[in-house]
Protein backbone atom coordinates (compact mmCIF):
# COMPACT_ATOMS: atom_id res chain seq x y z
CA UNK A 1 0.00 0.00 0.00
CA UNK A 2 1.40 3.45 -0.85
CA UNK A 3 2.49 5.61 2.05
CA UNK A 4 -0.16 8.25 1.29
CA UNK A 5 -2.95 5.66 1.35
CA UNK A 6 -1.67 4.21 4.63
CA UNK A 7 -1.61 7.71 6.15
CA UNK A 8 -5.14 8.53 4.95
CA UNK A 9 -6.63 5.17 6.04
CA UNK A 10 -5.02 5.38 9.50
CA UNK A 11 -6.01 9.05 9.94
CA UNK A 12 -9.64 8.58 8.91
CA UNK A 13 -10.12 5.61 11.26
CA UNK A 14 -8.32 7.24 14.22
CA UNK A 15 -9.94 10.65 13.59
CA UNK A 16 -13.40 9.11 13.42
CA UNK A 17 -13.05 7.21 16.71
CA UNK A 18 -11.39 10.10 18.56
CA UNK A 19 -13.95 12.59 17.17
CA UNK A 20 -16.83 10.49 18.55
CA UNK A 21 -15.18 9.93 21.95
CA UNK A 22 -14.36 13.63 22.33
CA UNK A 23 -17.89 14.64 21.28
CA UNK A 24 -19.17 12.48 24.15
CA UNK A 25 -16.61 13.98 26.56
CA UNK A 26 -17.57 17.51 25.49
CA UNK A 27 -21.25 16.81 26.26
CA UNK A 28 -20.24 16.49 29.92
CA UNK A 29 -17.36 18.99 29.93
CA UNK A 30 -17.49 22.00 27.65
CA UNK A 31 -20.94 22.04 25.97
CA UNK A 32 -23.07 22.55 29.14
CA UNK A 33 -20.85 25.54 30.02
CA UNK A 34 -21.19 27.00 26.50
CA UNK A 35 -25.00 26.68 26.73
CA UNK A 36 -25.05 28.36 30.17
CA UNK A 37 -22.84 31.20 28.90
CA UNK A 38 -25.17 31.71 25.92
CA UNK A 39 -28.02 32.46 28.35
CA UNK A 40 -25.97 35.41 29.67
CA UNK A 41 -24.95 36.38 26.12
CA UNK A 42 -28.59 36.51 24.92
CA UNK A 43 -29.77 38.33 28.06
CA UNK A 44 -27.09 40.97 27.49
CA UNK A 45 -28.18 41.38 23.85
CA UNK A 46 -31.83 41.89 24.89
CA UNK A 47 -30.88 44.38 27.59
CA UNK A 48 -28.77 46.28 25.09
CA UNK A 49 -31.66 46.49 22.62
CA UNK A 50 -34.16 47.57 25.32
CA UNK A 51 -31.93 50.30 26.72
CA UNK A 52 -30.98 51.75 23.34
CA UNK A 53 -32.77 55.01 22.40
CA UNK A 54 -35.63 54.61 19.85
CA UNK A 55 -33.61 56.21 17.07
CA UNK A 56 -30.79 53.76 17.55
CA UNK A 57 -33.26 50.88 17.34
CA UNK A 58 -34.57 52.26 14.05
CA UNK A 59 -31.07 52.45 12.65
CA UNK A 60 -30.36 48.96 13.98
CA UNK A 61 -33.52 47.55 12.34
CA UNK A 62 -32.64 49.22 9.11
CA UNK A 63 -29.19 47.72 9.18
CA UNK A 64 -30.68 44.29 9.87
CA UNK A 65 -33.02 44.60 6.90
CA UNK A 66 -30.15 45.62 4.69
CA UNK A 67 -28.30 42.47 5.68
CA UNK A 68 -31.31 40.29 4.90
CA UNK A 69 -31.78 36.98 6.67
CA UNK A 70 -29.16 35.90 9.22
CA UNK A 71 -26.74 33.13 8.24
CA UNK A 72 -27.91 29.56 8.76
CA UNK A 73 -27.08 27.89 12.04
CA UNK A 74 -27.95 24.40 13.30
CA UNK A 75 -31.02 24.11 15.56
CA UNK A 76 -30.30 23.53 19.25
CA UNK A 77 -30.38 19.90 20.33
CA UNK A 78 -29.67 16.95 18.07
CA UNK A 79 -28.88 18.97 14.96
CA UNK A 80 -26.37 21.16 16.77
CA UNK A 81 -24.69 18.14 18.40
CA UNK A 82 -24.56 16.32 15.07
CA UNK A 83 -22.62 19.21 13.51
CA UNK A 84 -20.37 19.32 16.59
CA UNK A 85 -19.64 15.60 16.14
CA UNK A 86 -18.91 16.15 12.44
CA UNK A 87 -16.57 19.05 13.15
CA UNK A 88 -14.82 17.02 15.88
CA UNK A 89 -14.32 14.09 13.50
CA UNK A 90 -12.92 16.41 10.81
CA UNK A 91 -10.60 18.07 13.35
CA UNK A 92 -9.48 14.60 14.48
CA UNK A 93 -8.79 13.49 10.90
CA UNK A 94 -6.93 16.73 10.15
CA UNK A 95 -4.64 16.51 13.17
CA UNK A 96 -4.21 12.74 12.60
CA UNK A 97 -2.97 13.45 9.05
CA UNK A 98 -0.44 15.84 10.55
CA UNK A 99 0.75 13.32 13.17
CA UNK A 100 0.83 10.48 10.64
CA UNK A 101 3.04 12.55 8.35
CA UNK A 102 5.60 12.75 11.17
CA UNK A 103 5.22 9.03 11.95
CA UNK A 104 5.80 8.16 8.32
CA UNK A 105 8.94 10.29 8.01
CA UNK A 106 10.28 8.95 11.33
CA UNK A 107 9.63 5.28 10.60
CA UNK A 108 10.95 5.74 7.04
CA UNK A 109 14.22 7.08 8.46
CA UNK A 110 14.65 4.54 11.28
CA UNK A 111 13.09 1.55 9.51
CA UNK A 112 11.04 0.73 12.61
CA UNK A 113 7.32 1.18 13.15
CA UNK A 114 6.18 3.86 15.62
CA UNK A 115 4.87 2.21 18.78
CA UNK A 116 1.58 3.33 20.34
CA UNK A 117 3.60 4.70 23.24
CA UNK A 118 5.79 6.87 21.03
CA UNK A 119 2.55 7.95 19.32
CA UNK A 120 1.21 8.96 22.73
CA UNK A 121 4.32 11.15 23.25
CA UNK A 122 3.66 12.82 19.88
CA UNK A 123 0.05 13.33 20.93
CA UNK A 124 1.16 15.01 24.15
CA UNK A 125 3.46 17.24 22.09
CA UNK A 126 0.38 18.17 20.04
CA UNK A 127 -1.43 18.99 23.30
CA UNK A 128 1.45 21.28 24.33
CA UNK A 129 1.64 22.94 20.90
CA UNK A 130 -2.06 23.34 20.08
CA UNK A 131 -3.71 23.67 23.52
CA UNK A 132 -1.30 24.69 26.27
CA UNK A 133 0.88 27.23 24.43
CA UNK A 134 -1.88 29.24 22.67
CA UNK A 135 -4.15 28.84 25.73
CA UNK A 136 -1.61 30.57 27.94
CA UNK A 137 -2.00 33.83 26.01
CA UNK A 138 -5.55 33.33 24.76
CA UNK A 139 -7.36 31.27 27.42
CA UNK A 140 -10.35 29.26 26.15
CA UNK A 141 -13.25 31.71 25.96
CA UNK A 142 -16.98 31.28 26.45
CA UNK A 143 -19.55 32.91 24.16
CA UNK A 144 -20.57 36.33 25.49
CA UNK A 145 -17.09 37.27 26.66
CA UNK A 146 -15.76 40.11 24.48
CA UNK A 147 -12.25 39.70 23.06
CA UNK A 148 -9.77 41.49 20.78
CA UNK A 149 -10.46 41.47 16.99
CA UNK A 150 -10.71 37.91 15.65
CA UNK A 151 -8.03 38.15 12.98
CA UNK A 152 -5.39 39.48 15.37
CA UNK A 153 -6.10 36.60 17.76
CA UNK A 154 -5.94 34.06 14.95
CA UNK A 155 -2.57 35.45 13.85
CA UNK A 156 -1.17 35.33 17.41
CA UNK A 157 -2.55 31.80 17.90
CA UNK A 158 -0.80 30.64 14.70
CA UNK A 159 2.46 32.32 15.74
CA UNK A 160 2.32 30.63 19.17
CA UNK A 161 1.74 27.23 17.54
CA UNK A 162 4.62 27.69 15.06
CA UNK A 163 7.07 28.98 17.69
CA UNK A 164 6.22 26.25 20.21
CA UNK A 165 6.48 23.42 17.68
CA UNK A 166 9.79 24.76 16.34
CA UNK A 167 11.10 25.21 19.90
CA UNK A 168 10.09 21.70 20.97
CA UNK A 169 11.60 20.28 17.76
CA UNK A 170 14.93 21.98 18.47
CA UNK A 171 14.98 20.66 22.05
CA UNK A 172 13.99 17.08 21.20
CA UNK A 173 15.84 16.44 17.93
CA UNK A 174 19.02 18.60 18.17
CA UNK A 175 20.67 17.34 21.28
CA UNK A 176 22.93 20.34 21.87
CA UNK A 177 22.92 23.05 24.51
CA UNK A 178 22.66 26.05 22.11
CA UNK A 179 19.74 24.40 20.31
CA UNK A 180 18.00 23.71 23.63
CA UNK A 181 18.43 27.35 24.70
CA UNK A 182 17.17 28.59 21.35
CA UNK A 183 14.22 26.20 21.70
CA UNK A 184 13.24 27.54 25.13
CA UNK A 185 13.55 31.15 23.90
CA UNK A 186 11.38 30.34 20.86
CA UNK A 187 8.68 28.85 23.10
CA UNK A 188 8.72 31.96 25.32
CA UNK A 189 8.81 34.47 22.46
CA UNK A 190 5.09 34.75 21.56
CA UNK A 191 4.26 35.23 25.26
CA UNK A 192 6.89 37.95 25.66
CA UNK A 193 5.35 39.73 22.66
CA UNK A 194 1.94 39.18 24.25
CA UNK A 195 -1.43 38.06 22.91
CA UNK A 196 -3.87 40.71 21.66
CA UNK A 197 -6.36 41.67 24.40
CA UNK A 198 -8.99 44.31 25.12
CA UNK A 199 -8.28 47.05 27.68
CA UNK A 200 -11.73 46.82 29.23
CA UNK A 201 -13.72 43.62 29.27
CA UNK A 202 -17.35 43.95 30.35
CA UNK A 203 -19.33 40.76 30.53
CA UNK A 204 -22.22 39.22 32.45
CA UNK A 205 -20.67 35.76 32.21
CA UNK A 206 -19.48 34.93 35.77
CA UNK A 207 -15.73 34.45 36.11
CA UNK A 208 -16.29 31.12 37.91
CA UNK A 209 -17.99 29.82 34.74
CA UNK A 210 -15.06 31.02 32.64
CA UNK A 211 -12.62 29.28 34.96
CA UNK A 212 -14.56 26.00 34.83
CA UNK A 213 -14.47 26.31 31.05
CA UNK A 214 -10.67 26.64 30.94
CA UNK A 215 -10.36 23.44 33.00
CA UNK A 216 -12.96 21.60 30.88
CA UNK A 217 -11.30 22.59 27.58
CA UNK A 218 -7.85 21.60 28.81
CA UNK A 219 -9.01 18.20 30.07
CA UNK A 220 -11.07 17.32 26.98
CA UNK A 221 -8.13 18.39 24.79
CA UNK A 222 -5.82 16.15 26.81
CA UNK A 223 -8.18 13.21 26.13
CA UNK A 224 -8.32 14.19 22.44
CA UNK A 225 -4.55 14.41 21.96
CA UNK A 226 -3.46 11.39 23.98
CA UNK A 227 -6.07 9.20 22.28
CA UNK A 228 -5.29 10.62 18.85
CA UNK A 229 -1.53 10.13 19.24
CA UNK A 230 -1.72 6.51 20.36
CA UNK A 231 -4.57 5.41 18.05
CA UNK A 232 -3.10 7.09 14.97
CA UNK A 233 0.32 5.51 15.50
CA UNK A 234 -1.20 2.05 16.07
CA UNK A 235 -3.40 2.37 12.97
CA UNK A 236 -0.52 3.66 10.85
CA UNK A 237 1.79 0.84 12.00
CA UNK A 238 -0.93 -1.60 10.93
CA UNK A 239 -1.47 -0.15 7.42
CA UNK A 240 2.20 0.64 6.80
CA UNK A 241 3.54 -2.85 7.64
CA UNK A 242 5.66 -4.29 4.83
CA UNK A 243 3.56 -6.44 2.54
CA UNK A 244 5.01 -9.86 1.77
CA UNK A 245 6.31 -9.55 -1.76
Amino acid sequence: MSTFRSIVFASVIAGFIVGLVVTAAQQFGTVPLILRAEVYEKAAEHKHEASAPPQAILVHDHADNAHGAEAWEPKDGWERNLYTAGANILTGIGFALLLCGFFSVRSGATGEAISWHEGLMWGLAGFAVFTLAPGLGLPPELPGVPAAPLLSRQIWWTMAVLATSAGLGLIVFRRSAPAAIAGVVLIMLPHLIGAPELEHVETNVPSSLSHQFVVAVTLTSLVFWSLLGSLTSAAFAYFDRPTSA
Partner: protein, 63 residues
Amino acid sequence: MSQSQTAQAQHLPVATRHVGRLAQSLIAMTLGLFIVGVVGFSHIDVIHNAAHDVRHSNAFPCH
Protein backbone atom coordinates in the same frame (compact mmCIF):
# COMPACT_ATOMS: atom_id res chain seq x y z
CA MET B 1 10.60 -1.32 -20.59
CA SER B 2 14.08 -1.48 -22.17
CA GLN B 3 16.94 -3.31 -20.56
CA SER B 4 18.77 -0.16 -19.47
CA GLN B 5 15.62 1.22 -17.82
CA THR B 6 15.16 -2.01 -15.91
CA ALA B 7 18.73 -1.84 -14.68
CA GLN B 8 18.22 1.78 -13.59
CA ALA B 9 15.03 0.92 -11.71
CA GLN B 10 16.86 -1.78 -9.81
CA HIS B 11 19.59 0.62 -8.75
CA LEU B 12 17.36 3.48 -7.65
CA PRO B 13 14.56 2.04 -5.54
CA VAL B 14 15.92 2.83 -2.05
CA ALA B 15 16.52 6.54 -2.77
CA THR B 16 13.30 7.09 -4.74
CA ARG B 17 11.20 5.24 -2.19
CA HIS B 18 12.61 7.50 0.52
CA VAL B 19 11.92 10.71 -1.42
CA GLY B 20 8.49 9.42 -2.38
CA ARG B 21 7.69 8.74 1.26
CA LEU B 22 8.73 12.25 2.33
CA ALA B 23 6.69 13.90 -0.44
CA GLN B 24 3.62 11.80 0.33
CA SER B 25 3.95 12.58 4.05
CA LEU B 26 4.21 16.31 3.34
CA ILE B 27 1.12 16.22 1.10
CA ALA B 28 -0.84 14.40 3.84
CA MET B 29 0.28 16.93 6.46
CA THR B 30 -0.71 19.86 4.23
CA LEU B 31 -4.12 18.28 3.68
CA GLY B 32 -4.51 17.83 7.45
CA LEU B 33 -3.66 21.46 8.18
CA PHE B 34 -6.09 22.57 5.45
CA ILE B 35 -8.94 20.58 7.05
CA VAL B 36 -8.17 21.96 10.53
CA GLY B 37 -7.91 25.46 9.04
CA VAL B 38 -11.35 25.29 7.45
CA VAL B 39 -13.08 23.78 10.50
CA GLY B 40 -11.36 26.01 13.06
CA PHE B 41 -10.50 29.26 11.30
CA SER B 42 -12.75 29.92 8.29
CA HIS B 43 -14.54 33.28 8.51
CA ILE B 44 -17.49 32.01 6.45
CA ASP B 45 -20.60 32.37 8.69
CA VAL B 46 -22.14 29.00 7.87
CA ILE B 47 -18.92 27.10 8.68
CA HIS B 48 -18.50 29.16 11.85
CA ASN B 49 -22.03 28.34 13.02
CA ALA B 50 -21.74 24.63 12.23
CA ALA B 51 -18.40 24.25 14.01
CA HIS B 52 -19.19 26.82 16.75
CA ASP B 53 -19.09 24.53 19.81
CA VAL B 54 -15.98 22.73 18.53
CA ARG B 55 -14.13 26.01 18.05
CA HIS B 56 -14.92 27.05 21.63
CA SER B 57 -14.14 23.58 22.99
CA ASN B 58 -10.74 23.51 21.24
CA ALA B 59 -9.96 27.10 22.28
CA PHE B 60 -9.63 28.16 18.65
CA PRO B 61 -10.12 31.95 18.49
CA CYS B 62 -13.88 32.47 17.93
CA HIS B 63 -16.36 35.40 17.40
